[in-house]
Symmetry: C2
Subunit: 411 residues, 2 copies
C-alpha cells in the first residue's frame, strides 16, 4: 500500500463526463490498495470567467476579494468529483483549503504555502476515504481570509500536499503524457523522458518548458517528492507511466544533455558607451531590482574607445517598457550614449546534470549554431545548463540543431 | 445612526451592472450614517447551473457535497460586491457563512440556523466597513462542513443576521416593490400595503404569497426584526419605502382582512364509506405522517348510511401520488370503499388579524362565493385566516370576489 496525491488540471475536469474519467483513474489507485488524495483545478474556462467579472467590477481590485471570488472555481470541482466517486461506491469527501487547513502567507493572488495540518485528511484515510482537495487555494490563518496561489497554483498545491502527507508519490495528470526532450511541436523527433532529475526539471521549467510550474518543481526538490507527469487522457484501466521527476541518484544512465528549452518571454536591452567606472553596474541594476524587474543575462563588452563599455542584458518581455522608462529617467546618473532594445529575441537553453562532469559542452553548441549562420546575442551558463539569446526567427532551427547535436533525437 | 441589514436576491445581482446598482443602494445608507450588512444571493442562473452539475454527477448525491458545490454561488457575489463598493470609496469586505460564523445544524440542503457569533462583523462596523455576507450558507461547526439553507434561504440568512446583529431593520430588496393585498397579476385593483403584521405575513407566505420565504417570516416574528420588502429596481437616490412587516401594535388602522392568498400546491383526497369507529383517523393519518406528508385541510362527513363516514383532506401536490400509494396499501387496515383524488383544485385564503375580534367574517365569504356559483370542497379556519378549497377553474373569480368583499380594492 502506498499513499498518493493525484492532481488533475482544468481540461481534465472540464465537464461531468471528464470528471467521471478522472474518477476512474482514482478508482484504479484505490482498488490497488492505495491511500489517495486528489487535487483538482477549476473546470476549464471557469477561472477566466471569474477573473473577467472581477476586472469588470473594478480596474484596481482588492486582491483579498479577488481570492474570495476566484477560489470558488476549485470548490465546485472538488464537490462534484466527491459526488461522482461516491456514486461509484468509493467513500470520498471534499476538502477546501481552509478546511484542511492548507496555510499560506497573505500575499493574496500569489500566496506562498507555509504549512498544513494533515490530521483531518489522514483521519479520513483511516476511514478509507478519498480526500478530494480544492487546489490553488489556502487560508491565511491570522486574518481568516481565503488565499490563492496564482495561476498554475494547483500543481504547487499538489506537491505541497504530497509533502505534508508524506506521500510516496505525486502524480500530475496533464494533457500531455510526460516531459519531452524538447517541444514536440517543433522537433518531431523529440522523445518522452522516463526520468528527469529535480534540478534539471527546475531549469527546464524556468527556461520555458510549460509542463510544470517552477514553484511546484522547487517544492518537489526541497521535499524530495517523487513526482510523475502523466496523461489524464490515457485509458484509466491501462495508463502509461509518464515521466518521473526524482532525485538524480535514481537516474542510472545520465545523459550529458537531457533537454532543450526555449522561451520567448525575453527582451534585450543594450546601453551603448556606458562610462567604464566603479558603481555603474549598481546605477543600472539597482533601480531595476527596486522595481522588481528580474534581470537575466548580462554581458559587458569594451567599446571601440577604451574608456566606455557596452552593456547588454535581458528582462521579461512584460517588464520591457517599464525597464526602458526607468533607465531613461536614470540616464544622467548612469551616463550612457544610447539605449537600444529588442523584443524579437528568444532564449534557447540546453539542460543536463551531465554537464557538471563534461567540459566543452557549450562550446560545441556555439560552433554548431555559427555553422547554421545563427548569431548569438548573449550567453549565460551555469553548472547544469547554458542559454543563448538569438533572433526569434531562428528559434526552430536552433532548437533542432541542439537537439540533434546532443543525441536527443528519437531513433 | 441605525444598523441595517440589506438583502438582494439573484435577479438584483445578475451581472456586474446590476451589482453596481446594488452598491448605489448600499452607498445611500452608508452616507446616511448607518452601519450596513449586505446579504447577497448567487447571480441569477448560477445556482441552477451548479445544481444541474450535481444532478448530472449522480442521481442520488451526498447532500454534504451538494452544499459544498452550491454554496460557491453566493461566495462569488459577495466578493464582487465588496470590490465594487471599494471602488466607490466605501470600505467593505466579504464574509462567507463559515467566516462569520453563521452556525447551522447538519440538515444539509435545508439546514436550520442555530446561532451566529457576530463579533467579527461588529468589529468591522467599528472600522467603518460594510459587511458583504454570502447568503444561503452557513457552517455545521462540529463537522466543519459547509451547509446551505435551501432554496430562498438568503431571506432567512438576512433576517437571522439582522437578529444576530441586533439590527434596527432588515430590508429585503426584491423585484416587486412590496407586499400586495393579493397577486396584482390577478387583481389589477390590488393595493400595496404599507404595513403587515408578522402573523399575517406568516399566514400569507404559508398560504401561497411568494414574496417572502415562510422561514424568514417566522424568524422575523420570533426575533421581532422589523423587515421591509422593497424594490431593488427603484432609483437608488430616491427609493420607495416598500412594505414594513412589523409587530401588530405598530399598525394603527387594522383592517379586518389584510390580504387574499391562493395556492395551487394542493391536492384533494377523499376516502368514501370509511368505517365510523375509534382509531380510524390514526389508521389514515399515521402512515402519512410517518412518510413526512403534511396533511392540511380535513373534513369528515357522515355518509348516507350512518355506520360509515366520508373523509376528505388535502396534501401537497408533490406528495399526491405517494399519499395514494400509501393509502391503497393500508386499505385493509383502514377499511374504506373507494379512494378519489383531485389535483385541479386551489386553496384560496383570506388573512387578517382583525378576524380575531370580528365574528362572521368567513360566513360572509361562503355566501359571496355561493352567489357566484363556486362550490366549496373544504374549509379550514384559524384565529386570523380562513381557507376554502375550490375547483382551480374558479381561482381568479374567487380571489377577485373576496378582494372586493373585504374592501381591499384600490380606490
Amino acid at each position: 500500500m502506498a499513499r498518493l496525491v493525484m492532481k488533475f488540471g482544468g481540461t481534465s475536469v472540464a465537464n461531468i463526463e471528464r470528471i467521471r474519467n478522472v474518477a476512474r483513474h482514482v478508482e484504479r489507485e484505490v482498488k490497488a490498495g492505495h491511500e489517495v488524495a486528489v487535487v483538482v483545478s477549476a473546470m476549464s474556462g471557469k477561472t477566466n470567467e471569474l477573473v473577467a467579472w472581477v476586472r469588470e467590477a473594478a480596474n484596481l481590485y482588492d486582491p483579498v476579494e479577488y481570492d474570495a471570488v476566484v477560489a470558488s472555481g476549485e470548490q465546485v470541482t472538488s464537490g462534484l468529483l466527491a459526488i461522482v466517486l461516491q456514486s461509484m461506491g468509493l467513500p470520498a469527501r471534499s476538502w477546501q483549503g481552509w478546511q484542511i487547513p492548507l496555510l499560506t502567507n497573505d500575499a493574496h493572488g500569489s500566496a506562498r504555502i507555509t504549512g498544513m495540518r494533515p490530521e483531518g485528511v489522514l483521519a479520513g484515510f483511516g476511514r478509507g476515504e478519498v480526500a478530494v482537495i480544492a487546489g490553488f487555494q489556502g487560508i491565511h490563518e491570522p486574518s481568516g481570509r481565503l488565499t490563492t496561489l496564482g495561476r498554475g497554483g494547483s500543481d504547487t498545491s499538489a506537491v505541497a500536499i504530497a509533502a505534508g502527507l508524506s506521500a510516496d508519490r505525486c502524480d500530475i495528470y496533464t494533457d500531455v503524457d510526460g516531459v519531452y526532450t524538447t517541444d514536440p511541436r517543433i522537433v518531431t523527433k523529440a522523445r518522452r523522458l522516463d526520468r528527469v532529475a529535480f534540478e534539471e526539471m527546475l531549469e527546464m521549467a524556468s527556461l520555458g518548458a510549460k509542463v510544470l510550474q517552477v514553484r511546484s518543481v522547487e517544492l518537489a526538490m526541497v521535499h524530495k517528492v517523487r513526482t510523475y507527469v502523466r496523461s489524464s487522457f490515457d485509458d484509466p484501466a491501462n495508463p502509461q507511466a509518464g515521466t518521473l521527476i526524482c532525485d538524480e541518484e535514481e537516474i542510472v544512465e545520465q545523459q550529458i544533455v537531457t533537454g532543450i528549452a526555449y522561451s520567448k518571454d525575453e527582451a534585450q536591452i543594450t546601453l551603448r558607451r556606458v562610462a567604464d567606472k566603479p558603481g555603474v553596474a549598481a546605477a543600472i541594476f539597482g533601480p531595476l531590482a527596486d522595481a522588481n524587474i528580474n534581470v537575466d543575462m548580462i554581458i559587458q563588452v569594451v567599446s571601440d574607445d577604451t574608456t566606455t563599455t557596452d552593456i547588454t542584458f535581458t528582462v521579461p518581455t512584460a517588464d520591457f517598457d517599464r525597464a526602458k522608462v526607468l533607465l531613461e529617467s536614470a540616464h544622467d546618473m548612469i551616463g550612457y550614449q544610447s539605449l537600444q532594445g529588442a523584443t524579437d529575441v528568444v532564449k534557447v537553453s540546453a539542460i543536463g546534470i551531465g554537464m557538471r562532469s563534461h567540459a566543452g559542452v557549450a562550446a560545441k553548441a556555439f560552433r554548431a549554431l555559427a555553422d547554421k549562420g545563427i548569431n548569438i546575442r548573449a550567453i549565460t551558463t551555469s553548472e547544469i545548463k547554458f542559454s543563448v539569446l538569438i533572433d526569434a526567427a531562428y528559434t526552430e532551427l536552433a532548437v533542432r540543431t541542439l537537439h540533434s547535436l546532443y543525441g536527443l533525437d528519437k531513433a
